[in-house]
């Protein structure tokens, strides 16, 4: 039998708020070739079997962060997860865990966007500089210190993996903490004191129970668990130090 005739069953979790009271599974049979991603399988369904299936996607190359789904229960980027790895068994595709489902495989990520906006994810210059003065000097070592934390594509697989976020959606969570850490340790930045207010707060890093699953599912090796844990130390130090110096005092 030629490869083109291989077929795989894809079980998709469907939910339409206008007609469904709760999510339900639907199985599609999809012809596939060994190079096809789970995303391409889902696209086939939409193009040829059921135009009403809704999901997000764009770049197809694991950089835009749109196409996160649970694939056989594991938070995955569907564009770089391949059908061949499941064949001949059925593969199950569901919306990312821990987020409200808007429809089918589309989840509401507004909560995350709010967290991202709250952490002041931009340079608060330590020593302001004019354009005429040119670039800040930053050695490769200084770049290396924060580079991995700047690689987060906001795909939210880490939130779908995080048991604490599942229990408490107000928990700031892995990606936002990694991003906060990214700016705090950037040699150009002087905004750490402002950002630590959030980390020290009720919804900050102490909710993390160090499961580490967030780093395991991260497709970009950001290692958010590492950022969270470094910030536990920072937050603890900050908690005690704040009795010793005025708020916002020089480091």
């Amino acid at each position: 039998m030629s490869e083109a005739q291989k077929k795989i069953e894809i079980e998709v979790l469907r939910y339409h708020p206008e007609t469904d009271s709760e999510p339900h599974a639907q199985v599609f049979e999809v012809p596939f070739t060994d190079d096809m991603s789970v995303l391409q399988g889902v696209q086939y369904i939409k193009d040829y079997l059921d135009g009403s299936l809704s999901f997000r996607w764009s770049c197809r190359m694991a950089i835009c962060g749109s196409c996160g789904m649970m694939v056989n229960g594991i938070p995955s980027l569907s564009c770089q997860t391949f059908l061949r790895d499941y064949y001949p068994a059925r593969v199950r595709v569901e919306a990312l865990s821990h987020f409200p489902i808007e429809r089918d495989l589309v989840v509401d990520i507004g909560g995350f966007i709010g967290k991202l906006e709250s952490i002041q994810p931009y340079i608060i210059a330590k020593e302001p500089r004019t354009l005429a003065q040119g670039e800040y000097l930053q050695t490769p070592e200084q770049l290396h210190a924060y580079e991995q934390f700047s690689s987060c594509i906001n795909c939210l697989l880490c939130y779908a993996a995080c048991p604490q976020y599942g229990l408490n959606p107000d928990f700031i969570g892995p990606a936002a903490t990694a991003l906060l850490h990214r700016y705090n340790i950037d040699s150009r930045d002087g905004g750490k004191a402002e950002r630590m207010e959030l980390i020290n707060s009720e919804e900050g890093v102490f909710h993390c129970t160090a499961v580490g699953y967030c780093s395991e599912v991260c497709p970009k090796q950001v290692d958010p668990a590492n950022a969270v844990n470094q910030n536990k130390t920072n937050a603890a130090a900050d908690y005690f130090l704040r009795f010793l110096r005025p708020k916002g005092g020089a480091k």
Binding site: E18, Y48, G51, S52, C59, M61, I63, E102, Q142, L143
Partner: protein, 595 residues
């Protein structure tokens, strides 16, 4: 219908849209900005740009060199005064991005590093490993959060511009999560919606790159300029079209045919040397490299793969350590998508559609002929790319002209009074009825995916790397047929929440208009220049008849009307476009004649 009053509305939240939004906010914090994007801004296709962004940096480099590379690379179809402005502002914009936190790769002493890129005489491409677009986009998005006057309309799909009293006064958008329409009133509008590469079958583009903004402006009478110039990137993944950055060659990678031979030396790009020489061999411009591939294929010197002919991108001699440091994303793409370890095996590649050189006609201040309308980035034709864009000029374009568009749109907004809300709302309601009609009408039989696939195939057949009149004509005819069949499209999904099938239908309608502007402009250009190459008696550049910008004008019930506008030549008269040793000879002759 919800109504929101802004001063400036920006459609598109990628690099150009975000840079424009920040520029408006900085030029006057009192102006209310609405940033409308069909995806969350960090999903925009800027995210996929890999290799880098051009700006003169080294003491051995000069603005004149960058100008000459750009104008020659564009086969003299560039607006030279605009290129002048562009090259003079790239470096300060890239420095601005550095101040905003972009993690540019560095030299050991902490300065921003630059790498070689195709068609560039001196190393001037700033890079953040091989994820430059990703880092620029996230830096801009995160920085935009600082400005309270920027109100984002994330996941809002723009369906029309509202034009009243001869000027644009707002947009109509659908909130994707609810299917509800909104009118966003504004005194000026910036379109920054990116390119249209997905009208072709094999392309490097994300699913969102459907030419929406081009079609919106076009339908309101704004010409689309130079649409026949579509860039094929020479090194893409067979099948998916995913991109292997030009930086692979900037770092020293080779392109070889089935005999392991660096075939580019046979196409006026040699001599072949063991290390990359700028503007030669693998560091030639993209149009020439894609054309060389085509000839190798004709000669039977390519390798036959499952997704068509390929050549090999050989990075093995660079070693794993350098590849992991400079090209980490390329390494992962090759491993995960192809099962190829580039430190030990060559990567199979073939050309795929990558970039739309043409776009919405704007002047050097990003203003379209429709008062109040501005455009920036890939959707626009501000005039810097000519007939062939040089790699790493487009990311700089987003910054330089995103800012210009923002400043100019802010200035215009302050110069005019707000419109009549009641009249604008009435228009918006008519738009709503028309767009809703697409999913409420009955009896449609055409499947969206079928029409889309036929469009993409015919664009590849007729408007590929080399073009012939009869196949271009067939493509034009086919697109006319598809436009007709689109009237009979069937949207199965009638619901409101996240109805992406409905949105795909609207996008397809945009794509068909943009595709026709490309195909008809191509058919009409009876010469060969840059990325537009013919094999039917028009193999040469014809400066007498075609040193001119094509302009496609929308015609409601028929094919576009094509006319031509002048090209601004200030200091570089059209010359011989040559690379490699031949290019150096031409440059020496030019220098000698100037003495």
């Amino acid at each position: 219908m919800e109504s929101y009053k802004a001063d400036v509305v920006i459609v598109g939240g990628g690099g150009a849209g975000l840079r424009a939004a920040i520029a408006v906010a900085e030029s006057d914090p009192a102006l209310k900005i609405a940033l409308v994007s069909k995806v969350y801004p960090m999903r925009s296709h800027t995210v996929s740009a890999e290799g880098g962004s051009a700006g003169v940096k080294l003491s051995t480099d000069s603005l004149e060199y960058h100008f000459n590379d750009t104008v020659g690379g564009g086969d003299w179809l560039c607006e030279q005064d605009v290129v002048d402005y562009f090259v003079a502002h790239c470096t300060e914009e890239l420095t601005q991005l550095e101040h905003w936190g972009c993690p540019w790769s560095r030299t050991p002493d902490g300065h921003v590093n630059v790498r070689a890129f195709g068609g560039m005489k001196i190393e001037r491409t700033w890079f953040a490993a091989d994820k430059t677009g990703f880092h620029m986009l996230h830096t801009l998005f995160q920085t935009s959060i600082k400005y309270p006057s920027i109100k984002r309309f994330d996941e809002h799909f723009c369906v029309d511009l509202v034009v009243e009293d001869g000027r644009v006064q707002g947009v109509v958008a659908i909130e994707i999560a609810s299917g509800e329409f909104s009118l966003i009133e504004a005194r000026s509008v910036i379109i920054a919606t990116g390119g249209a590469g997905r009208v072709f079958r094999e392309n490097t583009n994300g699913g969102v790159v459907t030419g929406d903004g081009m079609a919106l402006a076009y339908r309101h009478g704004v010409p689309l300029r130079d649409m026949e110039f579509v860039q094929y990137h020479p090194t893409c993944m067979p099948g998916t079209g995913l991109l292997f950055t030009e930086a692979c060659r900037g770092e020293g990678g080779f392109l070889v045919n089935k005999d392991g031979y660096r075939y580019l030396q046979d196409y006026g790009l040699g001599p072949a040397e063991p290390t990359p020489r700028n503007k030669a061999m693998e560091l030639g411009p993209r149009d020439r490299l894609s054309q060389a591939f085509w000839y190798e294929q004709q000669k039977g010197r390519t390798i036959e793969g499952r997704f068509g002919s390929v050549v090999h991108l050989d990075l093995r001699h660079l070693g794993e350590q350098k590849l992991r440091e400079r090209l980490p994303q390329i390494y992962e793409l090759a491993e995960q998508f192809l099962g190829v370890d580039p430190a030990h095996e060559p990567i199979p590649v073939r050309p795929a559609v990558h970039y739309t050189m043409g776009g919405i006609l704007v002047d050097g201040l990003c203003a379209a002929p429709l008062p109040g309308l501005y455009a920036a980035g890939e959707c626009s034709s501000v005039g810097i790319h000519g007939a062939n864009r040089l790699g790493s000029n487009s990311l700089s374009e987003l910054l330089v002209f995103g800012k210009v568009a923002g400043v100019e749109a802010a200035r215009f907004a302050k110069s005019v009074a707000p419109g009549n809300s009641a009249t604008l709302l009435k228009q918006a309601q008519a738009v709503e009825q028309r767009v809703l009609g697409l999913k409420t009408k009955t009896g449609g039989t055409e499947r969206i995916a079928t029409l889309r696939k036929e469009m993409a195939q015919t664009m590849e057949d007729g408007c590929g790397i080399y073009r012939l009149a009869d196949t271009m004509q067939k493509t034009c005819d086919k697109l006319d047929e598809l436009k007709d069949r689109f009237r009979n499209v069937n949207v199965e999904d009638r619901s409101s929440v996240w109805n992406t099938e409905w949105l795909l239908a609207i996008e397809l309608d945009y794509q068909l208009d943009v595709a026709r502007s490309m195909a008809y402009s191509a058919l009409n250009r009876r010469e060969s220049r840059g990325a537009h190459q013919r094999l039917d008696g028009f193999e040469q550049r014809d400066d007498v008849n075609f040193l001119a910008h094509s302009q496609a004008h929308y015609v409601a019930d028929g094919p576009p009307r094509i006319d031509y506008g002048p090209v601004k030549i200030t200091k570089s008269p059209p010359g011989t476009r040559a690379y490699g040793a031949a290019g150096e000879k031409v440059e020496q002759e030019r220098k000698a004649s100037n003495v």
